[in-house]
Symmetry: C2
Subunit: 334 residues, 2 copies
């Protein structure tokens, strides 16, 4: 009896130790890819403030909304927005059905790989390319085209799939927030139909938590009597700059309490989030790591961060230094 009692005690003690170790491990570091420093601390302290029942800043679960810009905040946006890379690839794929493109700009330049000439067509040319590649099909067809593209296309510099160029430290932030009762939303200037086919798999963000720019869709009953939604060549909503607070209001209907951006296009969203009552945290990802990713801010054509940098400095919003705050940038190869 004594022996079995002693064994039982030893087993109990071992079990307790194991449980403690597991607990300690789970608690040690929710953000392992972040260097210890002020930025990481700001995030962890904020989450503790709003989730601790005893805290005067406690926020009930349904109000724990987090908003993330996508391009440049959750994944890379250089040398140009990945949605543009998709559009350019679609132009190439659709070219056989459009022989006229061989002699029409900006299509001709794109087909010849001359991005400089294509870019000289400016916003008007770009809108034409987006229209040609993002409308005239059903929503289901478009989603399947996007899904196929994410499986095959590769980034010119990193030679990885575009969906493998997401930021590992931000994946951890989203996971950490969700583990603490937050609903994580994307609030992006990018196309909502371009993001939704892969955000659940890549970020753990379901389609209904993606806010973005959109085109008008039209309900039709096709010749076989099948109802379908067709993407029309007409802008419905631009979720960028001052459109982001409007997008948040229209789609979510509650003001987030934490938001991440990286460019002037996110400034109004960060202002709107910061201005709500109670504890708030807004942060800018600062691209200062030319070696592991890219370094750009005030002078960049893509992801320009100029007014936002001034405002962050004036208001004391944390700047996430990619170079100093992040141990790794992208997830390890799969």
């Amino acid at each position: 009896m004594r022996t079995s009692f002693a064994l039982g005690r030893a087993f109990g003690a071992l079990l307790a130790l194991l449980l403690m170790a597991a607990g300690a491990e789970a608690q040690t570091d929710p953000l392992p890819s972040w260097n210890n420093g002020a930025t990481k601390q700001a995030i962890v302290h904020f989450v503790e403030r709003v989730t601790s029942q005893a805290s005067p800043d406690f926020v009930p679960v349904p109000e724990r909304i987090a908003a993330f810009d996508n391009d440049g905040t959750l994944w890379c946006e250089q040398p140009f927005y990945f949605q543009l890379a998709f559009a350019f690839d679609r132009i190439k794929a659709l070219a056989p059905q459009h022989p006229e493109w061989k002699t029409t700009q900006p299509y001709q330049a794109l087909l010849e790989g001359d991005l400089k000439t294509a870019a000289s067509a400016g916003e008007k040319g770009l809108l034409e390319i987006i229209t040609a590649t993002h409308s005239g099909m059903t929503t289901d067809e478009f989603a399947s085209t996007v899904r196929d593209w994410t499986e095959t296309a590769r980034h010119p510099r990193f030679r990885r799939r575009y969906t493998e160029l997401v930021y590992q430290p931000m994946l951890e932030v989203m996971q950490y927030l969700r583990a603490n009762g937050f609903k994580t939303y994307i609030v992006s200037g990018g196309g909502i139909d371009f993001m939704r086919p892969w955000t659940e798999r890549v970020y753990g963000i379901p389609p209904e938590q993606v806010v973005g720019s959109s085109g008008v869709t039209e309900f039709r009953i096709d010749k076989d009597g099948k109802p379908e939604l067709v993407k029309l060549p007409k802008v419905q909503f631009v979720d960028d700059g001052p459109g982001k607070p409007s997008g948040i209001h229209t789609y979510i209907g509650r003001r987030p309490i934490i938001a991440f951006g990286n460019s002037d296009g996110d400034l109004q969203m960060l202002q709107y989030v910061a201005a709500g009552p109670g504890a708030r945290l807004v942060l800018y990802v600062h691209h200062d790591d030319a070696e592991r990713e890219y370094a750009y801010d005030r002078a960049s054509q893509i992801g320009k961060l100029d007014k936002g940098l001034d405002e962050a400095n004036a208001k004391g919003w944390p700047l996430i230094s990619m170079k100093n705050d992040w141990k790794v940038v992208f997830p390890s190869a799969q």
Copy 2:
């Protein structure tokens, strides 16, 4: 020892009985306000089909999306849409600031309680009234006005608060679906900003699961430096008729597998939902109970159900008879 053993067995048996009873009670009737019949069976059988792991029609939790029209499906819409009652009350409340309304139609008629003359102003007059009462303030101000109104205004016939004129059987359906892993969405022609302030409290549906018609909002920094969203007198999106499938696509990004409506304005939503792959269920609430609520369909100005009735008959969509399927219509007095 034997006695305590026997007692232990008796206690165990008692516990098992209690657990079985509790289990049986929980399983007996998820829809107690519904009479047993084909309609109730159709709902319960559908839920069992899509939630049973062994079923060939099993649907994973993230895909369990349910869409509900609001006016006439979740709450009463007679003698006219409750949002109109709100607008008319706002005209009265705002009249002191608009002395010109005393001599301008349709305001004058409304202020004099002459709804017939007011109605003769047609859609144009109505849009003017909606614009006058739904724009020119911040989104926060509007939400608080709506909240106040739901606390005080009373329905002319039932003398209850409008939010007490929701359908008890539909509250049970929403609860039942959520208990089975569904996300419940409102997809209404009504104003999104008019619904969100009270849907969580009344239906258990959070703001981010409300899809509706919306006006354009504008982000501004006010004179004190405070960012705010202002409601502009400009339509952004009309979530009615063919707009409902588009609204579902834009807001939710997944096709629901079950949908409830009550009028021709819901027809395209029901067609869209019914046309998806796998198990689908779409139902119409049929207002055939003049005694407890109202009886109307093909000839009604509000909530007209004509083409939808034909389609339901042709396709075999269940019709929910308010008179025969529902034991009670409204929740008991609070």
